[in-house]
């Protein structure tokens, strides 16, 4: 074998490998988790150091005092915002922060309120506090503080939304989603654009229009929109406290589950290991996900990815995408990875997925955890295996029985 043959062999052995859909999102989320570094990791570092183990996390001799903490706008500047002089509120924020941080954390000095201001949702504040500097050999990071946002709780008193580590060279969440589509953001992220809402294009992709954010004299902006989004210069995302708290696992709010099913006959044309090749999963296609929006989902929110094959051997995907607005977008990719947008569907409908394939190729149906039956005209009801199926083109009506609910009949059109 020549060197060229070796090159060809290695190339041939990897030709089938392509980037999986959604990897960039997972990397971003994972990267943010690493930046955020949960307090359990700090606690683990404490335990490691206490045990005298060399690996993991260490402080320099003298308890880290020899490691000069970097200058920080959050820690070194006077409190800003229109509540900067409200000593009662600032004290309440500091007390809530101490309660949230708890004991056992390597904090130093008093918590500092970086910014405090009035918003339509009530008073909001950003807090930061120094910690003993931490060096992580593998990551080469120096951790020097903790920071977090406080928003009004149910009783109006401040409630800490999340806590993040402050790492050298890393930026912390520049804002907070205060609920009801209200966003508070500081100018730490540099110039940013704001988009209050999104719209769906005729092809089902997402369109957003951003306008520059005007910060007030204290470097803050209060923004509102039903589906808010921020975009920093260069097309970067702007992290918000509530979102980073979710990514770090500090919060356990609902998330979207993707339900993936291979319909009977589909196993012959799709990879047995699951998934679909590039271009067939729209989550990996630019424009179809909301790259800059902040969405809080409802319990039970799901999307579908149904892989199947028609009787003549053509493969297809029926997929839904959601941003949690109860207007799930429905797509069909048939034969080639070119999405046909079929409009929005109500995810709470008895049969949220109902797609009649062209040229009499059948009807794709799906309803999570439901027992399904169908019939043609006045014919007998025929059972379906599983909660998703490709029904014959002659099917005119489906019966959907969700656990604990009475059967519901849904016309399938013609």
């Amino acid at each position: 074998m020549t060197d060229t043959d070796i090159r060809d062999a290695l190339a041939a052995a990897t030709r089938h490998i392509t980037a999986p859909p959604g990897l960039l999102d997972r990397v971003r989320a994972g990267g943010r988790r690493r930046v955020v570094r949960r307090r359990t990791l700090v606690a683990a570092g404490l335990a490691t150091a206490a045990a005298g183990a060399g690996a993991g996390v260490w402080w320099g001799p003298g308890g880290g005092d020899d490691v000069a903490p970097p200058a920080s706008d959050r820690l070194d500047r006077p409190t800003r915002g229109d509540l900067a002089g409200d000593t009662g509120y600032l004290a309440a924020v500091r007390n809530e922060w101490r309660r949230y941080v708890g004991s056992g954390m390597p904090t130093r000095g008093e918590p500092h309120v970086v910014w405090a201001g009035r918003t339509p949702a009530g008073p909001v504040a950003l807090v930061a506090q120094r910690t003993r500097p931490v060096v992580v050999p593998g990551a080469g990071q120096i951790e020097y503080g903790l920071t977090g946002w406080a928003t009004p709780g149910g009783d109006g008193a401040p409630r800490v939304e999340s806590m993040e580590s402050m790492l050298t060279g890393a930026r912390n969440a520049a804002g907070v989603l205060a609920g009801g589509g209200l966003l508070v953001v500081l100018d730490e992220a540099g110039p940013v654009g704001f988009s209050p809402d999104l719209e769906y294009r005729a092809d089902g992709a997402i369109r957003r229009t951003f306008r520059p954010v005007a910060f007030d004299a204290d470097g803050a902006a209060v923004l509102r929109g039903p589906e808010p989004a921020l975009r920093a210069a260069g097309g970067a995302r702007v992290d918000l406290a509530r979102i980073t708290a979710l990514a770090a696992g500090e919060r356990s709010e609902p998330f979207v589950r993707m339900l993936e099913r291979t319909l009977p006959g589909g196993a012959a044309v799709w990879p047995a290991a699951g998934g679909v090749p590039d271009g067939w999963d729209l989550r990996g296609v630019p424009g179809y996900e909301d790259d800059f929006g902040y969405h809080l989902f409802h319990a039970g929110d799901v999307t579908w990815l149904l892989r199947g094959a028609t009787a003549d051997g053509r493969r297809f995907v029926v997929q839904t995408l959601t941003v949690g607005d109860r207007r799930d977008r429905l797509f069909l990719l048939l034969g080639v990875p070119e999405p046909a947008y079929l409009g929005t569907v109500d995810p709470s409908a008895p049969l949220p997925v109902r797609v009649r394939l062209p040229d009499g190729r059948g009807v794709v149906v799906a309803a999570e955890s439901a027992a399904l039956r169908y019939r043609a005209g006045r014919g007998p009801w025929l059972p379906v295996r599983g909660d998703a199926a490709l029904l014959p083109a002659a099917a005119t009506e489906a019966e959907v029985t969700r656990p604990g609910r009475p059967p519901q009949r849904v016309p399938l059109g013609s």
Partner: protein
Amino acid sequence: MRDGFDDFVRGRTTGLLRTAYLLTGDRHAAEDLVQEVLEQMYVRWRRVSGSPDAYARRSLVNRATNRWRRRGRRPEAPLGHHDVAEPDHSDGVVVRDAVLEALRGLPPRQRAAVVLRYLDDLPIVDVARALDCSEGAVKSNTSRGLDRLRELLGPVAVPTEGGDR
């Protein structure tokens, strides 16, 4: 703050995955590895954005080598369990299995040297940087690795993009 990171991920992920696949012999492990490296780069982007490729390669090789050491105590899972072929690529599957089997028989640094030289087409100096060794060591590792691969892959016909050779 992370200007260019998204473009780097979009543009380089497939290449990194292919390298990781040959280094680990396991598609899922390769995806985990690449994701881990990219997450690390996300955190350190300001520092590594000057030469992200070099950073990614070095990190990938180090992690793959360590992983191989950790897994050395137990046999590798059969590839067939992880990586089921599409039915219309049977020639490709034969080559893939043969290449992975052959690479699996090489010591990790020989494997890395061959993959970086012949899959990534890196010059020797860049391979040396990625492996943190001398150029002489790269030449020696590559040469030994190639000899072994030639032995094992000799009978395998390599299909090209346009068809079989």
